[in-house]
Amino acid sequence: MSHEHALVDHLFRECAGQMVSALTRVLGPDHLDIAEEVVQDALVKALQTWPYRGVPANPRGWLFSVARNGALDIVRRDALLRKKLEPVFAIPTDIEVGYAEEAFGDDELAMVLMCCHTDLPRDARVALTLKTAGAFSVREIAAAFLCEPATIAQRIVRAKRTIVEQEIRFELPRGDELRARLDSVLDVLYLLFNEGYNAHEGESLVRQELCHEAIRLARLLTRRDETDIPRLHALLALMLLQASRLSARTDETGMLLLLAEQDRSRWDRTLISAGMRFLESSAAGDEVSTYHIQAGIAAAHAVAADESSTDWALILRLYDDLSAIAPSPVVELNRAVAIAMVKGPTAGIRALEMLRAHPALARYYLLPAILAGLWLRAGDSARAAACYGEALGLSCTSPERRFMQRKLAECTAHGAPAQ
């Protein structure tokens, strides 16, 4: 014990996820609650004692031992579980720094694959993955997904029940089952990342943790040949390239900044180069997934010195591809921005006006907000102001609202009549 040891970032969440996974392998998915409980108790014990005695020399090993001892106590007292005594005891605890993934990586992988079973509803997969593998609390998950904690708690309880009833196993599936499950895992990780990346109000720490966790779990999948597929590399590239801009996306007051307004020296070069390496390795094989295309778009932004030297023609081609294999109104919105950058604001405005008829976009603030930006570029601040006014009348998050209010003020400063 010493008062001079520091804790590495994410240590508690990672240890919790690893320990819950290892215990679930041994005790079985029907005892997931016990696994979660003894791990939570171990963390609380650390919280109670470390302030006085200092952080142990091997904090990870300390947490693993205390959690394992807690599990051993329960197993000894329970006649049905007593046969698990040996396997619980066999869970390693004296893990040297840097070897935790080696010791627990396969367990965490099996946990993620179990949580993303296709028999579970999609929102339950997300909640359960975050709760068990990511060690987020119900309240944190609720905050990230802007819903009531009770809703999340209920989703998790139901998902656990389904796992027991359907006898979903804690394992690395094979063949077609693995392929289907892997699709689901990538979908869940993509959703986690986007939820963390999108600009909601408050809980910014939780949101960054979501992005970090999505990337960490995706990296886990690269451990095994069966799960280490090019599509995974494309998703990792996409997430790393996007994450490189996380801290540059807002100014010091928390105000959202457009891509063109961001200080590109604040983009994280380490994440960009890691992303570029995954983008390169994602090209193995002949599949071009939506992740591939989106990663390509993110890469085109990441390598550009500024907005004007960005290869917008390439980005437009990639949006054309994306809209061919996964058409959606939101893709069309983004494509319209690329059109404006390649062919001028008027062409972009025309493309956007055509989207106005789309029912899915009728109440979406981003359509008039983007239109407003293009009218500004076209030099018509009155029309821009009208569009920002329209966008502000639709629902959006507070950072987005403040962003548009700032833009609207810029329009009126340029001579547009006040709204």
């Binding site: 520091a6 508690f12 609380v44 919280l47 302030p51």
Partner: protein, 121 residues
């Protein structure tokens, strides 16, 4: 140099807070205590500390009617001793300064007592 006992009392807020925390929040909280401990240890002032086990304890009293043993001290006391540290400093003023921004102040009180040095009598 004189030694001081720093006693941390919890008034219930700590129990409430720690019961509802997520792993990330627990780590964050530990880091605030860790930062204090690290700073004071680096100045050579921190000589140790121990956590006392919650929810137990015995209080013994003698008297005319004989020995009485009660569970406690939590029965009568609103503030329970959570644990303690031993500090070394030239005087009370220095200890006060070291402790004035202690994270525990968010959860209860801190009491400083100088340990009598029998060798100096």
């Amino acid at each position: 140099m004189p030694k001081y006992l720093l006693v941390a009392r919890d008034d219930g807020r700590w129990q409430t807070a720690s019961g509802e925390m997520s792993p990330a929040q627990m780590q964050e909280m530990l880091q605030t205590y860790g930062a204090w401990g690290e700073r004071v240890a680096k100045q050579g002032r921190l000589k140790g500390g121990e956590k006392l086990r919650d929810g137990q304890g015995k209080v013994l009293r003698g008297g005319n009617s004989g020995l009485s043993v009660t569970d406690g001290p939590f029965v009568e006391s609103k503030e329970v001793i959570g644990g303690f540290w031993i500090l070394e400093a030239p005087g009370y003023a220095d200890v006060e300064k070291l402790v004035s921004d202690h994270p525990h102040l968010n959860f209860g009180s801190l009491e400083i007592r100088e340990i009598e040095d029998m060798g100096r009598a």
